[in-house]
């Protein structure tokens, strides 16, 4: 049931069949702690090894990560992980290209302003998730559109276009 709702959400935001494409030949598995449920995608042959662990193993070891982190379920919404975004890039058209200056600011946790926008599809709607890529087409994070894409041209340069949800600067900020 949970997987169905995650698939629905990802496909709804990024296009039909995207979740299947992300999985490739792998399978999704969940790890839960007190606050969150994290989903990973792993090779089928790992399932025996890591999922069906007996009590003897879990008494000594806590499984913390396996394969590729797909994302986290929190407050009934699924948040894609930074690790999976580069895979998503080849499967979706929800891509906002930003200038080098905008890209740098984004990796410091800033959101995307009109002056940084290089291009994006005009059919994207307010609230929709978009991958943020630099002019070298490297994925640097994910954002939520603050307005319909077709309205962006009417904005002043300093106006918000997309709100930063996660960026690769987190890898560095997280470690202090």
């Amino acid at each position: 049931m949970e997987w169905e709702s995650i698939t629905e959400q990802i496909d709804g935001e990024f296009g039909t069949g995207v979740t299947k494409g992300l999985l490739g030949g792998r399978v999704p598995v969940a790890l839960a702690d007190a606050e969150t449920r994290t989903l990973y995608i792993i090779p089928v042959e790992w399932v025996e090894k890591v999922v069906n662990q007996d009590e003897a193993i879990s008494a000594f070891f806590e499984l913390r990560l396996m394969g590729i982190e797909l994302g986290q379920m929190a407050k009934s919404r699924f948040f894609l992980s930074l690790q999976v975004l580069p895979f998503l890039q080849s499967l979706t058209e929800n891509i906002l290209v930003v200038s080098s200056r905008g890209a740098e600011a984004f990796t410091y946790g800033k959101s995307i302003l009109k002056e940084s926008v290089v291009g994006m599809p005009r059919w994207l709607k307010r609230g929709q998730r978009v991958l943020i890529v630099n002019e070298d087409r490297e994925c640097i994070g994910i954002a939520a559109l603050a307005l319909d894409a077709e309205r962006v041209n009417r904005l002043a340069p300093d106006k918000l276009v997309a709100k930063n949800l996660a960026d690769i600067g987190w890898y560095i900020r997280r470690l202090g």
Binding site: W46, K49, V50, A56, I57, A59, F60, F61, E62, L63, R64, L65, M66, G67, I68, E69, S81, L82, Q83, P86, A103, E104, T107, N134, E138, I140, I168, G169, Y171, I172, R174, L175
Partner: protein, 332 residues
Amino acid sequence: MVSDGHMSRRQIRDRAKVLAQEYGYLQYMIERYLSLWGEEETLRFLEACEEPVRTSIRMNTLKASVEQTAARLNEKGVDLQQVEWLECGFYADFHGFSPGALLEHMLGHYYVQGVPSMTVVQALDPQPHETVLDLAAAPGGKTTHLAQMMNNTGSVIAIEQDRLRVASLQSNVMRCGVENAIVYRGDARKIEHLELDPDRILLDAPCSGEGLIPLDSSRKTSKTMADVRFCATREDELLDAAVRALKPGGVLVYSTCSIAPEENEYVVDEILGRHPELRIVPIDLDFGDPGYTNPFGVSLNDSLRLARRFLPHNHGTEGFFICKMEKESESD
């Protein structure tokens, strides 16, 4: 000076007192260096530890080719010089910029890592499709290097006990595009419970860090001989667990960032005595000095000369010990 050119105990004590004051060390450390190396080499060591260690990076080919990353870094004014025995290892002069702040670092194109740490993984030589264990794995430099050498195939089982350090391990695994890692939090001394049959094991053991003085001068005074002994006991337990878990015919690399023979050659010598199925094998890379076979006048297994040591005064790096071993296969 006694007749054979060695210093007497009293001479060592007196000289150590002076040098300890001059260079800011605990006296017992200098006494040990004088006993191990004599005065001339001790002085070279002390001087070398005052010099900064060159920054080095490993190009992460899971994210971009060596050539691509080198070109991008050159464009940003970073000077690179390849480490002779490491295809993906480079000394990097960032000219004052933080190596972690560049976009290429965030994208996982490179990992800031000491030359000895990169060499450890190269010495283990993991192969695609194998099962490889990385014990005491955080912050993930070696885990991500293993995955890189295995081209994201097989599996790298990374174990780390410290909760906070597990978080940095996870973060680096994700940043570097590693897809074949399984990370466990737990005590690596209990690995037999995981019931794995690893082809190779990397044990870069938690140690007293005496080799890190060039990077962290607080180590000159932060550890006593009791700390070194405590670490040696834990290292012995970890290595013993690793040997027991290793598949027959499997390969194991034991390393520490300590220069103390008690944490290195003594530990391996003890393990070799306890596990006749284990033998030291040569490392097919041209680096470092041979391991010691007679430190402090204690005679150890002669094959320890096949182990390698990085020393600040001989190699311009932090101090490190690397020993590669093989477990007899069932047909042997």
